[in-house]
Symmetry: C2
Subunit: 192 residues, 2 copies
DNA sequence: TGAGATTGTAGTAGCAGGTACTAAAAATGC
DNA sequence: GCATTTTTAGTACCTGCTACTACAATCTCA
């Protein structure tokens, strides 16, 4: 076959690359379907999977389901966007958010603005010492674009309290500079 | 057994209730494990599943994995938070967002503010006719709390363009009233 | 109290989608 | 041209079922 004009099948390495890619994009294919797609026998697919450490269909599905369950939980339980590093209830708080690749625009690789907002907003809510509260007003300014991999440190501070209104300032910076700042007026209610 | 002092097992109805509950909270149990838990035979579990329309373990896992995949996709591909209903590039746009129970605070059942912000912000970005842009400034006001099940209609309008700065106003209302409004200054770049 | 209906158990055959293994055919390297 | 690598074929076995038959236990209520 070497040098032949017609080479429908590809060599092992290339096939395994294709296999990995296929399994990653379409994880619900059986060995039989994969074999058909790559024009080899089922046994070859099995050997390849063994070499590449790809689990069987059921295992793949199971992994997805388990991962998904964890993810749902962590999103749901996350009342605060980002990781709460420090909190002085009624005064100030600090949270950390790592920018991952699902937070950015595919085209520009720049973080979507609402992640910074969400981090700041949920932190602002966390610092105020009231049983229930909502955001009333927000004034925010994006100073420089944020990219994948950056660590965003948001620092919130309550600057004024008037009645049931809390005035909270949040400044967010990455390793080198301030990237975002926001002023919130949070409104609380419920007996305190 | 009726009226007996010792009744380890429960009646059919109650057992099926327990079964549903168990499957919902721990979807990874096999029939055998369920049978042990409910102190009946495997066959009984199978009959119960049949009656209740509960799919087998593999089916349950598969459903979870598929649902999860859809969710991930819809979040990732969603450059716009909400559903784009109408878009006049360079002028205005409308988007719809349904408030689901994972968008609200468990305690208050009120939607987290950053969902309204995200909807508005991503819509503001979508309407401006430029290859690349980011949010520069945002001024937002939350007018009334939003609850599960409400449909949020956000209408964005470009009110002014100065150089590479776009001034966009977004008003969001539910079925009955305005719940949120925002003014954005978006900054664009790249040859146009 | 007892006959019929309901509910639960047992067991078998068969299926999907594999693993783990043996053996041999085909391609390739040099 | 012969050894080595790669691929294919086939078998036994596994899990977690479905689909079915047969029968035992329990409940109902007349």
């Amino acid at each position: 076959m070497q040098g032949g004009v017609w080479m429908a099948r590809v060599k092992k390495k290339e096939r395994q690359r294709l296999l990995l890619e296929q399994v990653k994009t379409k994880p619900f294919l059986t060995d039989e379907e994969l074999a058909k797609y790559l024009e080899v026998s089922v046994q070859t697919i099995r050997l390849d999977r063994l070499e590449l450490g790809i689990p069987e269909l059921r295992g793949r599905i199971r992994n997805m389901a388990e991962k998904a369950q964890n993810k749902v939980k962590s999103i749901q339980s996350g009342e605060v966007v980002g990781e709460l590093i420090d909190l002085e209830l009624g005064h100030s708080g600090i949270s950390l958010l790592r920018v991952t690749d699902d937070m950015v625009f595919a085209k520009t690789q720049i973080a979507k603005g609402h992640y910074m907002f969400s981090q700041a907003n949920s932190l602002a809510l966390a610092v105020i010492d009231a049983p229930m509260a909502v955001t009333g007003v927000a004034n925010v300014k994006y100073k420089v674009p944020v990219h994948v991999g950056e660590k965003l440190i948001a620092k919130a501070e309550i600057v004024k309290v008037r009645g049931n209104k809390y005035f909270v300032w949040v400044k967010t910076h990455n390793e080198t500079q301030e990237v975002f700042r926001a002023k919130f007026i949070m409104v609380s209610w419920g007996e305190k």
